[in-house]
Symmetry: C2
Subunit: 312 residues, 2 copies
């Protein structure tokens, strides 16, 4: 039902080669070869990006192309999930940001989009370490976040520590599995059949450790294991305005789409790592979402706690 085939249409295969990003070298080569400015190349990537969208509810394709601080370019497209509430949707601008984050980018210079970024996305981008300098191009104009969301609600309106690392800054949440979870993962690792689940548990833990949760202080990560054994992961990305936050299942799905997962129904296992007794918990919502988009997937939840050394 949900076809996530990433095969690009013939007209764009030449530029993208089926990828969601172009290395800085590739960008420079393309600009040189075809005499293109950065803006012209970004603009050329919007339509191919929008063709990768999967808007199962709205049929409204959105494409975004951005350039990172490294000079590499990233694509984003919107993903909607049939039979789920609309707040599960992923916007093209959010997809692009997770794409850049997972490639290790530490800044985004400019994003070109096929439609006006909505208020939800303008708020989401407010979390960036480069919120003051990033530019958005759409409808023939180029704008700062200050122009698109003047007098905005900012991370500093909630964060008390001015040194809190922002989005795209390195994150380090000192978490460890609870003793129960640790024992369970060890048992899984020692049995042949469930070894992939143990690997996924470690991947989800790593995602939780590097996730962006400065507001709730409830980091969380998800790892997805596909039929072919491949593992894809993502961590929660919070917004100071709360609702625009991306849950960890969503960022892991973006990672799977980036890696070429053809359909969600090929998901075999999903591992969620979250704080025991946290103020924010994703287990129930993750289960409810999987029931609709990957009904055969098995969800396993492992709890973490703050590492001893980080306490007090």
């Amino acid at each position: 039902l949900v076809d996530l085939s990433r095969s690009a249409p013939p007209s764009t295969v030449g530029v993208l080669g089926g990828q969601f990003s172009l290395s800085a070298d590739r960008v420079a080569a393309l600009q040189n070869e075809h005499g293109l400015s950065e803006d012209e190349l970004l603009s050329m990537l919007i339509t191919p990006a929008s063709e990768l969208a999967r808007p199962r509810i709205s049929s409204f394709h959105v494409g975004a192309a951005g350039i990172g601080a490294s000079g590499a370019m990233y694509l984003g497209c919107n993903l909607e999930f049939a039979r789920l509430p609309l707040y599960n949707s992923i916007h093209a601008e959010q997809f692009l940001l997770v794409n850049a984050l997972h490639c290790g980018e530490r800044g985004i210079r400019k994003v070109a989009v096929s439609a006006a970024p909505c208020g939800h996305c303008r708020q989401f981008y407010t979390e960036l370490n480069c919120a003051e300098t990033i530019r958005f191009s759409f409808s023939g104009g180029t704008y700062s976040l200050g122009q698109l969301l003047p007098m905005r609600f900012r991370p500093s309106d909630l964060l008390t520590d001015p040194n809190t690392p922002l989005l795209l800054d390195p994150q380090c949440n000192p978490l460890e599995l609870t003793p129960d979870a640790k024992a369970k993962v060890s048992r899984l690792a020692s049995t042949g059949d469930d070894a992939p689940l143990a690997i996924a548990a470690h991947a989800a833990l790593e995602q939780a450790r590097t996730s962006y949760a400065p507001y709730s202080r409830c980091p969380a990560g998800v790892a997805i294991v596909a039929e072919d054994g491949s593992v894809h992961g993502g961590g929660v990305i919070e917004s100071a305005a709360f609702n625009p936050s991306l849950p960890p299942l969503q960022t892991a799905i973006i990672d799977a789409v980036l890696d070429g997962m053809p359909t969600y129904t090929t998901v075999r296992d999903v591992v969620l790592v979250e704080l025991e007794g946290g103020h924010v918990q994703h287990a129930g919502a993750t289960r409810a979402a999987l029931e609709q988009i990957a009904p055969d997937a098995r969800l396993t939840v492992f709890h973490v706690q703050w590492a001893e050394a980080s306490k007090g």
Copy 2:
């Protein structure tokens, strides 16, 4: 755990009398009696509104006060839900809008808020029939939506029919219970113990019929039955940007808080009415949310279909 007591602090009881709204007559009388301008009265209501907030995760209280086309004033406060993902949160501006909607308002002239409205709320207000004329006051200034969210993504970017009624316009979705659901509701109505459930089914159906779902065309309604037998309801409110949409459980919870429900744990029954096989379905997410905030509540789902006369 979740204390929703609406008893206002002594300093504000005089103005609000424990209510979330002031009638147009009351507003006029207060202005007269104390020589207050409309702006001064709105501004005076912000703090009492923020004291009604229940920010279980952020501890960040937001209050909003608005004046409707009728001259009545409405309060809003933020509600957050412990142990659930952040996208379940309700912003003060959204609370206020549902408050006005449930009182039959057909327009909002101005909203005064204790903090800068976030991008999510600016986008949500874009659905209003009065989006071009509404004004927001905060941080000492007054702004139009055009100033707060320039070049915004609009309902008309998705809607093909320019005559689609917008938010606060009367909504009429010609829905009827499926034959199965109709038979089940009839059986409930004829048994003494479950008669309240049949009443709630009709209330949820009415909420679905008047809900705002122009994008997915999947109207949905929820009715909540409290321990004391009182029934509170709400319908889904969609946003063209999808994610800022308010699910029907959230609008029903706002209704219950407006009606003075002290804690969510007093919820006995929740009835969800939604389309059979719709592109958007709320059942799983509603169940997952109730498990955390009202674990003793029973969820019953009734399906609806488009009424025969409305087809073809």
